[in-house]
């Protein structure tokens, strides 16, 4: 089985889906000759030509609006937003149209569209190349939101996203595009949306997280075991809406303690929804407070980004606090 990084796995998923289905097209800024600024679409233009791998003019609102039109008329566009930080120009098209066309038209029309985009921090990208804006999309009814944490999931989830009949916001943590490598099957496989993955077994504290933070959390397990004598159970959410409530509940039945870790700012981050859901439906499972370890409620800074982002020290403090409660 070949070993791939996330860029290669995503590229493979796109290529295989385009080979399988003529209606799949790729569009965005620099996705053709340049192969995308992170090379996720590298080589596709040579295989499928410039009518299917489309270098567009520089406008996110144009890219998404155009892709919605394609999706209405029989295509399955995969639109790349070069950095998710630039998506805001397209916000009206996403929120008022991609997300709502099925509802507006009484189910007569639907939008099988994937919006792929590099997201999140950790590469010294500053305030407009580092954001984690998943909450805007999760908050918008009609959209699925997905964020893989490694190559295997990236391939399977992207394939599913392309085949789903509703719009999917597919967020790719750029800091782990090339750093995480794993075996990725050459054959076709998909991963169901809405299913999380347990990436570490432990009996004391459930840590729910996603994207690049999965790796930070896993790397803290040893220190937490050694210093606090506690084992963390790590759940990689993978699909952010709808999130896998069952896996979280099942884990809490064992641990009784919940921490949510995400890069996005704390206020109205997905951690707030997960905490509210558990507090509303399963307060009996909890021994202590639900703690969120997140980005702060400030813009994402260029200076000291590693101190801004959730880190091992902050997770350690959260585990200590929930154990001592």
């Amino acid at each position: 089985m070949p070993v791939m990084n996330m860029v290669q796995a995503l590229n493979t998923a796109l290529r295989e889906e385009m080979e399988r289905d003529d209606s799949v097209v790729v569009l965005g800024e620099d996705v053709g000759r340049r192969g995308g600024v992170f090379l996720v679409t590298e080589g596709l233009i040579d295989i499928f030509g410039e009518e299917r791998v489309i270098d567009t003019p520089l406008t996110e609102l144009g890219i998404v609006g155009f892709a919605i039109g394609m999706a209405l008329n029989g295509l399955r566009p995969v639109a790349e937003i070069q950095f998710i930080d630039f998506v805001y120009e397209a916000f009206d098209q996403i929120v008022s149209n991609a997300a709502k066309i099925r509802f507006r038209t009484g189910g007569m029309y639907n939008v099988p569209l994937v919006i792929r985009s590099p997201c999140c921090g950790g590469i010294k990208g500053g305030m407009h190349h580092s954001q984690s804006p998943e909450s805007y999309f999760i908050h918008t009814a009609g959209l699925y939101t997905v964020m893989p944490s490694g190559p295997y999931d990236a391939k399977g989830l992207l394939k599913t996203s392309i085949r789903v009949d509703d719009p999917v916001i597919f967020l790719e943590p750029k800091s782990i595009y090339r750093t995480v490598k794993e075996e990725v099957p050459e054959e076709d496989y998909t991963i169901e949306l809405g299913r999380a993955k347990k990436v570490l077994e432990g009996g004391d504290v459930t840590v729910v997280t996603w994207g690049a933070m999965v790796h930070m959390v896993k790397s803290a397990a040893g220190l937490i075991k050694e210093r606090l004598g506690a084992e963390i159970e790590v759940i990689d959410l993978r699909t952010l809406f709808p999130f896998d409530k069952d896996m979280i509940i099942e884990s809490l039945e064992k641990t009784g303690r919940l921490i949510v870790v995400h890069e996005a700012p704390k206020t109205l981050g997905l951690g707030a929804e997960i905490a509210a859901f558990i507090a509303e439906h399963h307060p009996e499972l909890l021994y202590g407070p639900i703690i969120r370890v997140t980005g702060y409620d400030t813009p994402f800074p260029l200076a000291h980004e590693k101190l801004y982002m959730p880190n091992i020290a902050r997770l350690y403090l959260a585990v200590k606090k929930v154990l001592e409660y």
Partner: protein, 378 residues
């Protein structure tokens, strides 16, 4: 205009928007009427362009050393200094991120630019973002990285000036890629409708990362598009600093009378989009070599040497003087300590907000625990 009558376009306006105004060609020969421009101004423009070129070289070097996060190379676009040179200090400039010459003309020193690029203790923008420059004291608004966002801002600020009875104007820079965005459309449209004192400068460098101009727009010229919003426009050889300077004087005069004006500066990006880009993937080396002949410093130097404004060897002396200056400034800027660790809690709101006060306490606690556990996070 009657509702069903025809609408005529002034052929002179069309000619300006689709022609090409130039004074000095690529070999330094005078090909147009030479404007009334003193030797002192010519020397100033030369110095600013050399300073921009030298600083660009140094920022590239510092980026390769891992000291500067990302740099957007300027080489080839230095004639932009001609556009800003005739402005008054009270006028407002909304620059783009590839505008070292603009920052220098507005009064930023190499030292200030380096503090910003290295986001050290003295960074006036407090470590907010990379590749952006500006300062309130120079009436120069730091650029938003999403391209073209600043275009409607410049129009609104100009409206405010008019509303407040000031005789100042705004000038805004952006690239050819930005002309595809909604911000360009809205900005130009508002300027036309409200007749704001704004000068637009589109630095058309032919490439928006990998996308060539012909794939950005099928309009005959970018200036032609501006004309369609009712904004007078001219297409200029943007590698000819004398043409840029003369155009800017006319544009600024018109703006000060309360009418917007649009300059399409036809230039060429000789370097990569940013230091994270690899242009060999999408454009030929041969094209770049061919375009080097048209770059703005080469021709100005030729013109000035042939007309006795520069003696032999003087250009190299000036270049070395600025090179040495920046070398010293870079060394000093590198020695300065970083910004404080809690800097990102500043400037989120003007007032105190309890949410941030609480998070700041948690932040300090995390710094203490890092020390206690001996964790290196940064």
């Amino acid at each position: 205009m009657s509702l069903l009558g025809r609408v005529d376009i002034d052929p002179e306006k069309l000619e300006k928007a689709t022609g090409l105004y130039r004074v000095i060609d690529e070999e330094g020969r005078v090909v147009g009427e030479f404007p009334d421009i003193g030797e002192e101004v010519l020397r100033d423009l030369l110095h600013y362009m050399i300073r921009a070129r030298v600083l660009d070289e140094w920022l590239l070097r510092l980026q390769r050393m891992g000291k500067v996060a990302i740099h957007a190379p300027n080489k080839g676009q230095e004639a932009i200094v001609g556009a800003v040179y005739p402005l008054r200090p009270e006028d407002w400039v909304f620059p783009s991120y590839r505008d070292l010459g603009v920052y220098l003309v507005r009064g930023m020193s190499e030292e200030e630019i380096l503090d910003r690029a290295l986001y050290n203790r003295d960074d006036p923008l407090r470590g907010s973002d990379f590749a952006i420059y500006g300062h309130r004291k120079y009436n120069m608004i730091p650029t938003p990285v999403p391209v073209g966002n600043q275009i409607p801002h410049a129009v609104g600020a100009a409206y405010a000036m008019k509303y407040r009875g000031l005789d100042t104007i705004t000038m805004v820079m952006f690239g050819d890629g930005a002309t595809s965005r909604g911000d360009f459309h809205a900005g130009l449209n508002f300027a036309g409708v409200f007749k704001t004192p704004t000068v637009f400068v589109c630095e058309n460098n032919q490439w928006a990362i990998s996308v060539p101009l012909r794939r950005q727009t099928r309009a005959p010229t970018i200036a032609f598009r501006a004309l369609s919003y009712g904004v007078d426009a001219i297409r200029v050889d943007g590698n000819d600093v004398v043409a840029m300077y003369k155009t800017a004087i006319d544009a600024i005069t018109q703006a000060r009378r309360g009418e917007p004006f649009f300059i399409e500066m036809v230039t060429y990006r000789l370097g990569s989009h940013t230091t994270a880009d690899d242009p060999t993937r999408y454009r030929s080396e041969e094209e770049v070599r061919r375009m080097e002949r048209y770059e703005p410093l080469r021709r100005l130097r030729k013109y000035m040497e042939e007309h006795g404004y520069l003696r032999e060897g003087e250009y190299d002396e000036i270049y070395k003087m600025y090179y040495d200056h920046v070398e010293k400034a870079a060394r000093e800027a590198l020695e300065k300590p970083p910004l404080p660790e809690d800097v990102f809690f500043e400037n989120v709101y003007g007032d105190r907000v309890w949410v941030l006060e609480l998070e700041k306490e948690e932040f300090y606690e995390s710094l203490r625990i890092m020390k206690e556990l001996g964790l290196e996070v940064e």
